[in-house]
């Protein structure tokens, strides 16, 4: 006979905290997050800077339908987490996700979206990218992460470099912003390099017992 366990807490309505840094923490998405996403996808600045397929799909493929939440939550090729800042912020500041995840081959792609303009240049994106990179290595068992950036998005390129990513190449005129073609810069990082960043920065904080990280804090 099965014995349903009552000892495990149900995930909170505010989502389950997956990882904590010193400035931000990452949590799972909730249906209410679609309200924020709905605003973010209409921001032309974000669209130009990030060119996110995630945001494009929500707006243009799903037409902002609530079912997008379930589709993201149960997508076996990605993990999308909401970025929350600790102090003075009443709303999420963005989304960070690993997508096109190849678990057996050990690689995935990284996308970091800091959507609140007031939250930019505060190190939130750097730390969110760092935390999900650790999650990719520790929990998903990944050994390589990759990211693409438009050539004019200097802020994102600097964030990736701060997190130990190296530029590996250029996709010439692979991006189009509605007016002209732009180069896409390819960045990559390997597990050993992520570990080197972790040893250098030590931003990982232990979670409370009720929180949902699969990794034992070290």
């Amino acid at each position: 006979m099965d014995t349903p366990s009552g000892s495990h807490p149900r995930p909170a309505e505010r989502g389950v905290v997956i990882s904590r840094g010193t400035r931000v923490y990452l949590r799972t998405m909730t249906p209410q997050d679609l309200d924020h996403l709905s605003t973010w996808v209409d921001d032309p600045f974000l669209e130009r800077m990030v060119g996110s397929e995630f945001m494009h799909a929500y707006k243009h493929v799903w037409d902002k339908a609530p079912a997008f939440y379930e589709a993201i939550l149960t997508d076996p090729t990605q993990v999308a987490l909401v970025v929350e800042a600790y102090q003075g912020w009443t709303k999420p500041v963005g989304v960070v996700r690993l997508f096109n995840i190849h678990l057996l081959e050990g690689y995935a792609f990284l996308e970091t979206i800091i959507a609140d303009l007031r939250a930019m240049k505060r190190g939130f994106g750097i730390e969110a990218g760092k935390l999900i990179s650790y999650y990719g290595v520790d929990v998903l068992g990944l050994r390589r992460l990759e990211a693409k950036v438009y050539e004019y998005n200097v802020l994102s390129m600097n964030s990736l470099r701060r997190n130990g990513f190296r530029q590996e190449g250029i996709l010439r005129q692979a991006g189009f912003d509605g007016e002209r073609y732009w180069d896409l810069m390819i960045f990559g990082i390997l597990r050993d390099e992520i570990e080197a960043v972790r040893r250098r920065d030590k931003v990982y904080l232990p979670l409370d017992p009720s929180e949902g990280n699969g990794r034992e804090p070290t």
Binding site: M1, D2, T3, P4, S5, H8, R10, P11, G15, V16, I18, T28, T30, E70, L73, T74, D75, P76, T77, Q78, V79, L81, L98, I101, H102, L103, L104, V139, L140, G141, G212, N213, G214
Partner: protein, 117 residues
């Protein structure tokens, strides 16, 4: 819904002529995602620590899983394979099979007969 319900069933005595010592059965229902996968990891870790080298995970009641859920299953497989004679068998439904195919991990798992392919 953003939860997974888990149950445990240990068999330490022979049943129907089959030696089942060291077998642990885990039954999951609901979502197996980033928010709930740590519970599966803990249950498998517990089973291994209690000397259960063979684990059957019943996923018939799972309504969805993401990359973190599949990663937890892969880690369970690795943990058990590190044991002498350790094995992990999944009893999956159509949703789980589709997710394993989409993530191209289905060949990594032993699926029990009757699995909803």
């Amino acid at each position: 819904m953003n939860a997974v319900t888990m149950g445990r069933q240990d068999r330490q005595t022979p049943e129907a002529g089959e030696a089942l010592e060291g077998l642990a059965r885990l039954r999951l229902s609901g979502l197996l995602t980033a928010g709930t996968a740590p519970q599966l990891r803990a249950l498998v870790r517990d089973a291994v620590e209690r000397g259960r080298a063979r684990v059957v995970v019943d996923l018939q009641g799972v309504t969805g899983l993401d990359a973190a859920g599949i990663a937890a299953l892969l880690e369970a497989r690795r943990m058990l394979q590190a044991q002498t004679g350790g094995t992990l068998v999944l009893r999956a439904n159509r949703i789980v099979c589709r997710a394993l195919r989409t993530s191209r991990t289905i060949a990594a798992f032993a699926l029990s007969p009757g699995t909803g392919m």
